[in-house]
């Protein structure tokens, strides 16, 4: 669990793909490794979120409450990120994530992340770029959906 390794891990996260490796090392330095035992919740739907987790090893299920009960909507594996929106804005968790094996994660605190953005504006620009790309993708997906539903 070295800094280098964690920086590489961060680089695989979409939000940080364009951020310079040196800066990712910094973020890695400010982050910490957290282990979840099988069955433990990484986060609970509706709770306030102050941190994001990147899965280093193990697997976790993403579950949401639906009118018909709890539905598992995704399974997270290595390099997947949980709760990245929570470190950018104040909002309750939108899903419950439960470890289905022992899960090792890299925890990014909201404050540490914001400090990094404040101190290194170029990181902010890169994160913005990633967000913009995602927004563009979402918009085009939405457009596709709409045109699909019309036909």
């Amino acid at each position: 669990m070295s800094l280098e390794e964690d920086a590489l891990l961060l680089a695989k996260v979409e939000l940080f793909t364009n951020v310079a490796p040196r800066r990712l090392k910094l973020l890695a330095l400010a982050s910490s490794r957290v282990l979840f035992a099988h069955g433990q919740d990484l986060c609970v739907e509706g709770d306030e979120g102050y941190e994001a987790f990147i899965v280093v090893s193990g697997e976790a299920d993403v579950k949401i409450r639906t009118p018909t009960g709890i539905a598992t909507v995704a399974r997270l594996k290595r390099n997947d990120i949980v709760g990245e929106m929570a470190i950018l804005r104040d909002m309750p968790r939108t899903a419950t994530v439960t470890a289905v094996s022992d899960v090792s994660t890299l925890r990014i605190g909201k404050q540490d992340f914001l400090n990094l953005l404040k101190e290194f504006p170029e990181v902010t620009v890169e994160v913005m770029r990633s967000l913009a790309e995602r927004l563009a993708r979402t918009t085009s997906e939405l457009a596709n959906l709409r045109s699909a539903s019309k036909t």
Binding site: L29, R33, E119
Partner: protein, 891 residues
């Protein structure tokens, strides 16, 4: 009763010390004869026995020390005692002894008079200061917003101080000096009417002109006092607001403001000095002008034969005695004006109306009766200080046992209802009553125990959290102080002589009865209950766990904590999460600790023993150098520094991430960079001591899970574990008391309570470990009955001035707890928890309402907020908008 302050200082002094002032004048008069006789004796000794006048023959004798009363208007004398008939040697001895005797008597008089005057002055000063503080405690509430606390403090502390010195002199000194001056003048008059009149004329000019000139000095002195008071007010504002000033980059404005004020003070003071010395010059001139007239006028008269030369010489001699007392008299007069001005300034600031009458705050050592009826508002209106209406035409009845929520945004009037009931503001129209009694007529000792009010910014004096909690219970000295701490008769007598109350500060002022607790133990459970109610118990519990064990516990307490440790270790081993804590094992490296903590394997007495603090010549360095450990540490520290400098190097200021790492001081990054450059490729043996120490210190603060630079290896871990025992054994004796080592069977006094019980550290990297361990710890302490002991240690936490070492939400919770502890009959919470999150507030409200609606302990609640989120929990909901009650619904 007239509650105004006496504006005339002399009347004030006279009315409080008439008998003493008269007595001091009598003593001064009694001291006069010996005072003057003592002057005469040296002349008698020199002229008589020493020069031999009257002892021309060896066996000649003289009458020594006769007692005669002379008639100043004639030559006749009355002899009361003829004197001792003595020879030359005898006369010398007798006169010398008499001289010594007079010196002693004069000294004794002086000692007595000065002590008496001093005591008189100090008593008056004590009385004045006490009265001023007493008035502050009775100010109308809005006055507290108008005054600056530091100015009040300056007035009570500094500005009245010179009065103490003056009060003893107020009457005796002028009486004495006027007497002296008049007798000298009379003597001149007797010698020559003409010269006497001239002297009198000049004297008149002097006494009339000088005070006139000094009136400007007085004005300047007044300005000086006011500007200085203002300065102290400003300085305290700067201190209180320093954080905001710096966060807004307005420090330089403050600098210029202070400089501006100092300039004003400087010019006032400079002007003052100029005048002071000018007046001095004129005064001296006038004093010397009289002898000039004597020499010239008297000389001419004498040359022409109109004046006897002997008379002129006598006049000039008599005049010698005049300027002294006159000058002192003028000085006294100046001092009088000065203190009168100061006094008046102080009085003006404290002469506020309407003061609460003393009877409203009378000490009530008994239980006060409950309020009866309901709060009834009839056509009540209120305005703020600018006259803007806050509330108009309110008709409302709130039962003393009702639970009501009042909702309204700030300025809509909801909070005004609470402030009116708490009487923080007075209605500008209409009336408020409790049952048949007007609210305004209830004494403070009644409302202050029956009504509880919590605003958004509760105040706490400097002290512990426990003091803050109990500060709402200090109503009266309910139980006398222990005999060794109680007021002595002397202290009681002095208090009475200065008009101070006889209440004993060291008595037990806590009103246990009000809390519903019968004993000290029950109070403990009440405190726990109240803290739990406001959701603050966990916080203080955590404070308690963080306290060092050495911060006061008795021996048996230690045994209890050892028991807790055994139980904890047993249970955590049995459970599924044994890995949540990495135990302290002397033969194992503990990865949760820093390298320094691992080497010491114990705790230090003070921060001075921590790796970043101990000095460069400390013997600890030798201990760290054993077996080449320092070289390994140096290697690790240098490597860590290199990574940090590489990552942060080019940005050198305000790096929060680096600050949080707590490994290298961000402001010193360039230093580390330079050291790295110097030591590049240099063998350890050749590295300078400062560079070596710099990197070793970094290594000592390093902990792998925290800093994650992947610098640890088994060899280093083994070396560190190996160094543990050597460190202990070789610790120099004078440092031995600074360290205490972890021992499974012993309590470690310098380690925190938590470290002592867990005997290990929580593994942060295990999700949920902190919560699981805390819960287990809590359960064990509960079982052993130690919870309150821990909480009590937490309550010894020093909350700082105004409670500033607590967060705003903690202060609000503590403020509410303080009021709940005295179990008010009616509780008003005026946005008192607005710094807390909604979920917590809901929990607190629910808890309070559960008790408020219970049968035996029930009480009324007026909960004032701006949001509707808690409305459903209350029986009755009042909504306010724009100063009016717009809805009043029972749920």
């Amino acid at each position: 009763m007239n509650d105004r302050m006496e504006r005339n200082l002399f009347k004030y002094i006279w009315s409080h010390s008439k008998p003493q002032q008269v007595w001091i004048i009598i003593v001064v008069i009694l001291s006069m004869p010996t005072f003057f006789l003592a002057f005469n004796i040296p002349k008698l000794i020199v002229n008589g026995p020493i020069q031999g006048r009257g002892f021309e023959s060896p066996d000649a004798t003289q009458l020594v020390l006769p007692i005669q009363i002379g008639n100043p208007f004639g030559d006749q004398t009355f002899t009361l005692f003829g004197g001792f008939e003595l020879g030359r040697m005898g006369a010398l001895i007798a006169l010398s002894l008499a001289f010594l005797g007079y010196v002693i008597v004069n000294g004794a008089f002086k000692l007595y008079i000065n002590t008496y005057k001093g005591r008189l002055g100090e008593r008056m000063l004590r009385r004045l200061r006490y009265q001023l503080v007493d008035r502050v405690l009775r100010f109308p509430f809005p006055q507290y917003r108008r005054v600056r606390s530091s100015e009040i403090a300056t007035m009570i502390k500094d500005e009245v101080d010179p009065l103490g010195g003056f009060i003893g002199e107020a009457f005796a000194t002028p009486a004495f000096l006027v007497g002296q001056a008049l007798s000298a003048l009379l003597f001149i008059m007797l010698q020559s009417w003409a010269l006497g009149l001239v002297t009198l004329a000049i004297l008149m000019v002097q006494t009339l002109l000088i005070p006139k000139l000094r009136s400007r000095l007085r004005a300047l002195a007044l300005q000086r006092q006011l500007t200085a008071r203002d300065l102290s007010g400003r300085v305290s504002e700067i201190v209180d607001g320093a954080i905001d000033i710096r966060l807004n980059d307005s420090t330089n404005f403050e600098r210029s403001d202070i400089s501006d004020r100092l300039a004003r003070i400087f010019f006032i003071r400079f002007d003052f000095y100029q005048w002071k010395f000018l007046v001095k010059f004129i005064n001296n001139f006038l004093a010397q002008f009289t002898p000039f007239v004597f020499y010239l006028g008297g000389g001419i008269l004498a040359i022409r034969g109109n004046l006897d030369i002997g008379q002129l010489v006598a006049v000039i001699a008599a005049y010698k005695d005049l300027p002294g007392p006159i000058k002192e008299l003028i000085d006294w007069d100046y001092q009088r004006l000065d203190v009168q001005v100061k006094y008046l300034q102080v009085v003006n600031a404290f002469d506020v109306t309407p003061l609460a009458p003393p009877i409203a705050q009378e000490l009530q050592a008994t239980r006060v009766p409950p309020l009866a009826g309901a709060f009834t508002f009839h056509q009540v209106a209120a305005t703020d200080e600018s006259g803007r209406p806050l509330l108009s035409g309110l008709d409302l009845t709130i039962g003393l046992d009702e639970e009501v929520i009042a909702i309204g945004a700030a300025g809509d009037g909801a909070e005004v209802v609470g402030e009116l009931i708490a009487r923080l503001i007075a209605p500008s129209g209409g009336s408020i009553s409790v049952g048949p009694t007007p609210l305004s007529s209830l004494p403070e000792w009644h409302t202050g125990r029956r009504i509880g009010y919590v605003g958004p910014e509760p105040f706490f004096a400097h002290g512990t959290a426990r003091d803050a909690l109990l500060s709402g219970l200090r109503h009266a000295p309910f139980r006398p102080a222990p005999a060794d701490a109680a007021m002595t008769p002397l202290i009681i007598k002095e208090a009475a002589a200065s008009g101070n109350p006889p209440f004993d500060r060291h008595a037990d002022w806590i009103d246990y009865e009000a809390t519903g607790a019968a004993s000290h133990e029950e109070l403990a459970s009440r405190i726990t209950q109240v803290l739990a109610l406001v959701n603050l118990e966990e916080d203080f519990y955590a404070f308690g766990l963080r306290t060092k064990l050495s911060d006061a516990t008795s021996g048996d307490g230690e045994e209890m904590f050892l028991n807790a440790r055994r139980m904890f270790l047993e249970r955590i081993k049995k459970g599924d999460n044994a890995a949540d804590v990495e135990p302290f094992v002397v033969t194992q490296f503990n990865s949760q600790l820093t390298l320094f903590q691992n080497i010491v394997f114990g705790a230090v007495s003070s921060a001075e023993m921590l790796p970043n603090e101990f000095p460069s010549d400390s013997p600890l360095w030798q201990l760290l150098a054993m077996d080449g450990l320092d070289q390994q540490l140096y290697g690790l520290g240098r490597e860590a520094s290199a990574v940090i400098v590489d990552l942060f190097g080019e940005v050198s200021d305000n790096i929060k991430i680096l600050e949080r790492l707590d490994l290298i001081d961000p402001t010193k990054l360039p230093d580390y960079s330079a050291s790295l450059g110097r030591t590049e490729g240099i063998a350890f043996a050749d590295v300078t001591v400062p560079d070596r120490q710099k990197f070793v210190r970094v290594a000592l603060s390093y902990s792998e899970p925290r800093h994650r630079l992947d610098l640890m290896n088994d060899a280093l871990r083994d070396a560190i574990v190996g160094a543990r025992m050597k460190f202990r054994q070789n610790l120099p004796p004078h440092l031995a008391s600074e360290f205490s080592f972890h021992d499974p069977d012993e309590i470690n006094p310098f380690a925190s309570l938590q470290d002592n019980i867990l005997f290990g550290r929580i593994v942060d990297s295990r999700a949920g470990a902190v919560d699981r361990v805390s819960a287990l710890l809590r359960a064990i302490l509960e079982e052993l009955g130690l919870s309150y002991a821990v909480l009590e240690r937490g309550l010894k936490y020093e909350i700082g001035s105004g409670g500033r070492r607590l967060s705003l939400s903690q202060r609000q919770q503590l403020g509410l707890a303080r009021v709940l502890l005295r179990h008010p009959q009616f509780l008003i919470v005026n946005r008192g928890l607005n710094a807390l999150d909604n979920r917590t507030v809901e929990k607190v409200v629910r808890g309070i309402l559960d008790i408020a609606t219970s049968k035996d302990q029930g009480f009324g609640v007026l909960w004032i907020t701006s949001t509707e989120s808690q409305a459903s929990m209350f029986n009755r909901v009042l909504k306010f908008s724009r100063g009016e009650l717009i809805s009043d619904e029972a749920a």
